[in-house]
Each structure stands twice: as C-alpha cells, then as structure tokens.
C-alpha cells in the first residue's frame, strides 16, 4: 500500500458469457456486464466510468465507445474515459479506476472491459491484431501467435521439458473452463486431441491458442471504508502496477525474458508488502500455453526452465498448491481482448469469496494476483488482491 493513497476494494463484479454473441454489439455486451455489477445495489450513484476496449474502430467502425456506454447507462454529469493497452486494456482500466478512488478523486468507479471480435473472420482478426506490432515485425508476416511459437521453439531447445508439457497447460485450462458456465469453450480435452490438432506455427497447435471471442466484464470499485456499507466481503486491491518491456521483441536479452511482467509483479508485491509465498491464486495471460509457463517463471513463482512443472505436477490445478487460471484462462474461457484483464479480477473476486461454484479452488484464497498484459508482454499490469474481511 502506497502510504498517501486510500484503500480501494471491489464491491461487486459482472461478466457476460464469453463466446460468440451474434446480434449483440460491443455496447450491448459492455452494458450487460456493467448492469450485473451495478444491479447488486439499486440506483447506485457512481462517480466515474472507465471503459477498456482495444479496437471497436476496426471491429465495428465505432469510435468513442465509452461515451456511448455512459449514454445507455444513464450516466450524466460523471467522469468517463476509455483506456487502451491492446490485450492488457482491462488491467490498465483497473489501474485508472484504482488510482481515481485511491487518490480521493472518486468514491465509486465502475470499470468495464469488452471486445466484440467474432463478427470478423479469423483472417480479419489476425490482420487487426497484427496491427499492434511494430511495422518491422508485421511486414515479415509475423503475428503474436508466431511469436509464441518462436518462444516455444527456443524454450524446448534451452530447457528440454517433457514433450507434452504444453499439452498439460491446455488440458488443465480446459478442465477449469469446463467447470465455468461463462467460459467460451466448456469442454475438456485429452492428450490425443491436443496432438491431433493442426499446427498453427511450429511447434504450436490450434489447441495451444486462445479462441476468438466476444464478451465483457466489470468490477465496481469503492473506497474501502464505504465498501463495507455495501458488502461484508469486499476484495481489497492492495496494489496495481504497470511496467513496460522493449516494444520490439527481438530487442530483449533472451526470448523468455519478459521484463515488463517481472517488474510489474515485483513492484506490486513490494507495494502490497507481500511475498510470493503469500499468494494463493493467480490469473495470468495464457494467450498461448507456452506463455502461462514463461510468465510464471518471469513472475518468480517457478525457476527459469521449470514453469512447465506447474500443470504437469498438478501444482497449478484448482485443487493444487497454487491454482493458476481457475477461470479456464484465455485458453478455454476465451479472450475478448479488452475484457480479459477485468475478467481476471472477476474470477479472483469470486474465488476469494468462495462463490466460484464447481471450479472453486480447494484451498482458501485470501491473497491473489492477476497479470494482464498487452501484446507479447510489452505492457504488463499486475494487481494484488486481499480479502477485506
């Protein structure tokens, strides 16, 4: 906790089902998630709305999406803005909402993240998402999925983990997702199905990657003192820290070094006054299976070259010592870009309050961490949560 800041807590949260929502616009989806968080308290008067979304300009030819959202939510005379950090927009949105409450600017802030992606084809999505890379990378024909493949190629040569270590990340996250009624793909997969899936970029397969999804998520933030008037179980946000890495990936010291991720986790833990051993549960950015492994290493929860042990040795399963992506992660829950970082907070909120239903972590979750990153770790936001009861 930074001394001059007020304590901030999540009081309620909302999320649409992730998946293909034909006939629903980004505005519809973000409104649905917003109303779920707001409906807990009738006619609640919020001070501020923060909306996180990456590219409605390209997906829906829509600009000013959060002003539109404020309009349909009847928010007039409020502070309203949009926050964008590509695939980490949600984490950045929570950062802004957190600072607004912590600084005393606002008492009640609603943060909503969302993306409407499935109205475009896979090819069009690849084109839109490749727009977040530097031109020198994009002109080669490289996409984010191919960076993950390069990293996997490098990781396997350097550390020689078991051949099926990526498959186990996919199997775990699909198992978790199969228990999450809001996940895009609520289906378990087998080792055979994993190895039968098509190669996207060697050595990664379709089953290594997140699907393309529509969806939105929300959290309602309040000053902690006030939060107790609305819930006896507020989830306190102890720190939110954003840190960048080199923008161009080939400038990094080594392919598996994600300095933005490492720094944001390190500083967030130190602001919260916590150690890694204190963290009971993690939601992270598994756009591809290899990223779950490498992020866990860069966060310092596993030694370099050993992150694969998490899924294979059942440490990161929901009944393990350190559950990771109990929501199903991006892999199975889906990744409507702007929604993802906020959906991570939604999952933590449910897990801490033991409201996660069939996918409830076995252990008690009193402190958790989520990491929402843009692109290939170019801009990472880490959030630390603690039970406020």
């Amino acid at each position: 906790m930074v001394p001059f800041l007020r304590k901030v807590a999540i009081v309620s949260a909302g999320m649409t089902k992730f998946g293909k929502h034909d006939g629903k616009s980004l505005l519809d989806l973000m409104s649905e998630a917003a109303l779920e968080a707001l409906s807990v308290y009738d006619s609640l008067d919020i001070d501020m709305l923060v909306g996180a979304t990456m590219a409605p300009e390209l997906y829906e030819n829509s600009v000013g999406p959060i002003n539109k959202l404020a309009g349909v939510l009847g928010l007039e005379g409020k502070t309203v803005l949009r926050v964008e950090n590509t695939s980490g927009s949600g984490g950045a949105g929570i950062f802004v909402g957190y600072l607004a409450v912590a600084s005393g600017y606002a008492d009640k802030v609603l943060v909503v993240g969302g993306e409407k992606m499935t109205s475009k084809s896979t090819e069009e999505n690849a084109y839109i998402i490749s727009g977040l890379l530097h031109d020198c990378e994009r002109s080669l024909g490289v996409t984010l999925p191919s960076y993950a493949a390069l990293l996997a190629n490098w990781y396997f040569r350097k550390y020689n983990p078991p051949k099926d270590s990526l498959a186990h990340v996919a199997i775990k996250n699909h198992y978790h997702g199969s228990l999450n009624p809001k996940a895009h793909i609520q289906k378990r997969i087998t080792l055979e199905e994993y190895f039968q899936s098509k190669i996207v970029a060697e050595p990664l397969r379709v089953m290594d990657y997140t699907p393309i999804s529509d969806g939105a998520a929300s959290v309602l933030l309040m000053a902690l003192d006030e939060a107790y008037s609305y819930t006896d179980k507020p989830v306190v946000i102890s720190a939110v820290v954003g840190k960048t890495d080199s923008f161009v990936v080939h400038e990094r010291d080594e392919l598996d070094r994600m300095n933005g991720v490492a720094l944001s986790v390190e500083k967030a833990l130190s602001q919260a006054g916590l150690r890694r051993e204190d963290i009971d549960l993690i939601e992270l950015h598994d756009m591809a299976t290899i990223l779950e492994i490498v992020e866990l290493e860069n966060m310092g929860f596993f030694k370099r070259g050993e992150g694969w042990r998490g899924a294979m040795e059942k440490i990161t399963w929901l009944d393990g010592e350190l559950p990771v992506n109990t929501s199903g992660g991006l892999k199975s829950k889906g990744h409507p870009i702007g929604a993802t970082g906020v959906a991570q907070a939604y999952e933590v909120f449910l897990q801490m309050r033991r409201e996660a239903g069939e996918r409830q972590a076995k252990k008690n979750v009193s402190r958790a961490l989520s990491m929402s990153m843009g692109g290939f770790g170019q801009n990472a936001y880490t959030i630390i949560y603690e039970a406020g009861w």
């Binding site: 090819e123 690849a126 031109d135 990378e137 493949a149 190629n153 970029a201």
Partner: protein, 104 residues
C-alpha cells in the same frame, strides 16, 4: 548489407531506428553493416496473415551486439549461421550460410 542506427552515447545498435535511445541520447550515426549471426529460434508459420505465403519461415538471429527477427529464405536448423540482408521495403531476410547439421 543492412542500414542500422548507432547511438553516439552508448554505442547501442538500433534496428528498427528510435528517436530516443534507451540511454536517453538523441544523437545517432547511420551505417551500412554486414550482419551475420546464429539462428537461435525458428518457426514455420502455417496460418499466415492475408497476403503472405504459407508456410512462412521466420527466425531470430543473434549477431552478438544485435538481435534481429528475419524471414528465412530457406529452412535452416537452430545453430546455423545466417546472413541478414535488407530486401525491398526494408524487410529483413535471412540467408542460411553453409548448412551445418543440427547439434554439430
């Protein structure tokens, strides 16, 4: 040959170019350099963006004081020496030099 940017203060080689170096300097020299390095990671992309051939070979080349992501002209194993050249539009292309066998 590849045109690179060299920072006058810290000597860092930048490609792509920057307006401000990591060290804070804004003064650079621009030179043509022969770049040869080792292929440290590679992938064959089957699902490529619109307008690109499939499969597409790319690799990360480590030239010591500079690392570059390149499009590979032909398949080469990790460890192979790669010469980097600049094609039309500045696209970096990697030409595998004498082929060495993987792991030798």
């Amino acid at each position: 040959m590849v045109r690179v940017q060299v920072c006058r203060r810290c000597g860092r080689i930048n490609l792509p170019f920057k307006y401000r170096c990591k060290c804070g300097s804004r003064e650079f020299d621009y030179i043509e350099m022969n770049i040869e390095g080792t292929l440290v990671a590679t992938t064959k992309i089957f699902i490529t963006p619109k307008g690109y051939p499939s499969p597409l070979l790319v690799g990360l080349v480590d030239a010591g004081n500079l690392k570059l992501l390149v499009r590979l002209e032909e398949e080469a194993p990790v460890g192979n020496v790669i010469e980097v050249v600049q094609a039309d539009g500045g696209v970096l292309v990697g030409r595998p030099k004498k082929l060495v066998t993987d792991g030798s």
